[in-house]
């Protein structure tokens, strides 16, 4: 496996964490707390792995410019910029929210994760779109 394989791996990790988040959300809507916990912990681990892999890749290659100069360029940046900002801002809320859950502080966990969840799903899925546009277009 080379550095060139990392973008595909990262995209897979992003997609996987997005799917795990949605599955975990469905479980809590059904009040299935043990399954909810399993999915969300898995999503966190996968997101964590993504973060590490992403940092390794960008340490190695620097920044990768978007090669097209048509209308897709506008779309690319409209997705990329919020993705980066929100991803950076989400680390503290996610870690805090997980901590609340592990400390049984479920009121705080729910209050926080209510908005963390949709933002996190957006970050995961937008990351996948960024990958597809940058490497597959």
């Amino acid at each position: 496996m080379t550095v060139a394989d990392l973008p595909a791996l990262n995209a897979t990790l992003n997609l996987t964490s997005g799917v795990l988040l949605i599955l975990g959300y469905r479980q809590i809507r059904r009040s299935n707390h043990p399954a909810h916990k399993k999915f969300m912990v898995a999503a966190s681990i996968v997101s964590g792995l993504f973060l590490i892999s992403y940092l390794i890749y960008h340490r190695a290659v620097g920044s990768v410019p978007y090669p097209h100069y048509d209308w897709t360029r506008t779309l690319y940046f409209i997705i990329l910029v919020p993705h980066i900002i929100l991803a950076a801002l989400m680390v503290v809320p996610i870690v805090t929210g997980l901590t609340f859950a592990f400390k049984d502080k479920f009121r705080q966990h729910r209050a926080l994760m209510r908005w963390v969840f949709p933002v996190w799903v957006f970050v995961s899925l937008s990351g996948l779109v960024v990958y597809l546009m940058l490497y597959q277009l």
């Binding site: 809320p93 609340f100 209050a111 209510r114």
Partner: protein
């Protein structure tokens, strides 16, 4: 150096967002057991507070002072949350000698209360004092005029979560807390 500053900025912003988003109302005490009578004649005890978010106040129908304002505010909330089956309003009389069930029924009708989302309770005065002071930590001296002006917010587990000034002409703070409790529970 620039990267470090950026990291610090990101962490500060996300810490701030996290604290704002994690605002929850504190636990201020369990409402203790009580068993009063509501204006339609049924019983109303602590178990009737459970399962719903409740706004509770202490009034009496002959009150020349703060009760009209308090009741007007309750009424505004009662109408604002007309579609909410999870919210109820409870007004407890501190003047049971004059506030008979019939008087309370008339009072309820005067507020255009035709459903069971707003209950008016009466009970022997010692029990009302006990509930106000021991239960809600609201002073009940020199009744009936000396009753509290506070609205107490009780969650669906019977836990008191907030107190608000029932005579205030700004209902936004209490509405914010009610909305927070509704979101928390449902």
């Amino acid at each position: 150096m620039k990267k470090l500053l950026l990291l610090i900025l990101i962490f500060s912003i996300s810490f701030t967002i996290t604290s704002c988003a994690t605002r929850v109302l504190p636990d201020l005490g369990d409402v203790p057991r009580f068993m009063f009578t509501e204006h339609n004649g049924g019983v109303f005890g602590v178990q009737h507070l459970r399962g719903k978010i409740s706004v509770v106040d202490f009034i009496f129908t002959n009150c020349p002072g703060i009760c009209p304002t308090m009741t007007a505010n309750m009424k505004e909330l009662y109408e604002a949350y007309a579609d909410s089956i999870h919210l109820q309003f409870v007004s407890i009389s501190v003047d049971p000698d004059r506030d008979s069930l019939f008087v309370l029924q008339k009072y309820a009708l005067a507020q255009r209360v035709y459903d069971d989302r707003w209950k008016f309770l009466r009970a022997p005065i010692e029990e009302v004092v006990k509930l106000s002071e021991d239960g809600f930590k609201l002073a009940a001296d020199d009744l009936p005029g000396g009753h509290s002006n506070k609205f107490a917010l009780v969650d669906e587990d019977g836990q008191i979560r907030a107190y608000h000034d029932g005579t205030s002409n700004d209902l936004k703070p209490i509405r914010a807390d009610i909305d927070m409790l509704l979101r928390e529970a449902y």
